[in-house]
């Protein structure tokens, strides 16, 4: 009997977590460069029931990890000359005070000194590993598809696009940034495709999220019902067996 309760509880916990992730996806439906996430669930095969007379093997459910959908978000035209979006793989490299960080959010601007910066004001790194500096007083800036930043026919630098062998090693730290472990295999994309005047929008698919949310809440109520029935059953058993005579 207790097994039923424990299994139900383990599922409830996982469902709550799935709900948290769905809620985060939906909250970030307007976040530039956001990548949707999904909980990956598996049966937990190794945990045995504690009851002496219970079955030998019980399957609990447990979360196994989280999958991130790195598919391309749609490009949205903004009309700002320093907005750039990557088509295809790769990340912009941002030099934050905590070290290099990666992002798909290409809403760049120029600070008072002419340095190309991310939305949070940290410098965007060029291919040579140095920030890109633009002359604030010299004409419009053109960014070519390969990331080259041009001004008045002169090349001011080339925006670095970092690719990872395995994007699963990236972890999110908020503010649209990712970190990678130091030993992650990474390389500079040789032929990146960058679009000027566009921003990559969030790749959250609202209909899918709402559907999975419904699925989660239905599953949750059915587990709850199961728990209730288990409880009912044990109450009845106690009542009946405990009746004298």
């Amino acid at each position: 009997m207790d097994n039923m309760m424990m299994i139900g509880l383990s599922q409830q916990q996982v469902l709550r977590r799935a709900m948290d992730i769905t809620a985060n996806n939906i909250a970030n439906v307007s976040t530039a460069g956001f990548k949707a996430e999904q909980l990956l669930v598996e049966a937990e095969p190794y945990t045995r029931a504690r009851a002496e007379d219970g079955p030998a093997r019980l399957n609990y459910v447990a979360e196994w990890g989280m999958g991130r959908d790195f598919s391309q978000g749609t490009l949205e035209q903004t009309g700002r000359p320093l907005d750039v979006a990557i088509t295809g793989e790769g990340f912009f490299t941002i030099d934050t005070p905590q070290g290099e960080r990666f992002t798909r959010d290409g809403r760049f601007s120029m600070d008072a000194a002419g340095t190309l910066t991310s939305a949070n004001g940290a410098p965007v790194l060029g291919e040579d590993g140095a920030p890109i500096t633009i002359d604030p007083d010299a004409g419009p800036v053109t960014i070519l598809a390969n990331g080259e930043v041009n001004q008045n026919g002169l090349v001011a630098g080339r925006i670095a696009v970092t690719r990872f062998e395995n994007q699963g090693v990236l972890s999110k730290i908020g503010d649209n940034l990712y970190t990678a472990p130091d030993d992650a295999e990474r390389e500079l994309a040789l032929e990146p495709v960058i679009r000027q005047g566009f921003v990559e929008s969030s790749n959250v698919r609202p209909i899918m999220e709402i559907t999975s949310m419904m699925e989660v809440s239905r599953a949750y109520s059915s587990v709850t019902r199961m728990l209730q029935q288990a409880d009912e059953l044990s109450r009845k058993a106690i009542e009946r067996l405990g009746r004298p005579g």
Binding site: S30, E37, D111, P136
Partner: protein, 261 residues
């Protein structure tokens, strides 16, 4: 339950989005208004399973971590400084800037502000002033007997006086540019103020490289595009509704548990 507060951050963000859109739409007919856009960033993440943690004694490694995001926050509301279209007024003191730059205005408190709204007038003393009566710098005094004021594309102000055969030069208008225009602080009344983010004011003459030219008899219209804004409004509203759905679903889950006994 995290989902409740996560969805609440989503609703708050979309509310801000709608506020920005409303402000743009309200200023659809404001001279030289620059539209704004709210941009969002994901909030903190809670690490429940670290990426790269060992999953067994044999050295296998968890391929993906388990991170749960806590929602969204407004990153910034930035101004899109795209040129607005020029609309002809035939008023001789309406000056539009085609290209980069701002007019410099002297505020009554002695400070300086910058504007692209060039619908100027003449003060009782004959000075060139904004529609609020603030002096356009450098001060240009138009004599009473002036027949017509001419401003050329390079900002030179000339005037034809009654009885004079030749035009008389009254002065030279200046334009101001900033390294980061989007960093200017909007002060209302079509005025902007210099900030640390915008960089220092850079004075120049219209037509010089990096500066726009002056068009007399035109005003710059607002760069708000009604269709874009309405589309954004619909999207914001739907996103708001979805976040509200998450709250009610999460609430139902909590209620189901609460009713257990």
């Amino acid at each position: 339950m995290r989902a409740l507060s996560t969805a609440a951050t989503g609703m708050e963000a979309q509310q801000l989005n709608v506020e920005v859109i409303a402000h743009n739409l309200a200023n659809m007919n404001t001279t030289a208004f620059k539209r704004q856009r709210a941009e969002f960033q994901d909030l903190l993440y809670q690490n429940l399973g670290q990426v790269g943690a060992a999953s067994s004694d044999a050295g296998t490694i968890v391929p993906t971590g388990l991170q749960i995001g806590l929602g969204v926050q407004a990153g910034s509301v930035y101004r899109i400084t795209e040129q607005g279209s020029l609309s002809q007024t035939n008023n001789e003191l309406d000056l539009a800037i085609s290209g980069r730059g701002y007019f410099r205005i002297e505020l009554p408190n002695g400070g300086e502000a910058y504007t692209r709204a060039g619908s100027f007038s003449r003060s009782p003393e004959g000075q060139l002033v904004t529609s609020d009566g603030y002096l356009v710098m450098p001060g240009i005094a138009i004599p009473e007997e002036a027949r017509r004021v001419e401003v050329n594309q390079q900002g030179q102000v000339q005037v034809q006086l009654d009885g004079d055969a030749e035009a008389q030069i009254l002065g030279q208008l200046e334009l101001i540019t900033f390294a980061n225009e989007a960093g200017l602080e909007a002060a209302g009344d079509n005025l902007y103020l210099e900030t640390a983010a915008s960089g220092a004011a850079n004075v120049g003459v219209p037509g010089q490289p990096g500066f726009g030219i002056i068009r007399q008899g035109f005003v710059e219209t607002s760069n708000v595009d009604a269709v874009t804004e309405i589309t954004a409004l619909i999207r914001a509203q739907r996103a708001y509704e979805m976040n509200a759905r998450v709250i009610s679903a999460a609430d139902e889950m909590l209620a189901a548990s609460a009713n257990l006994r």
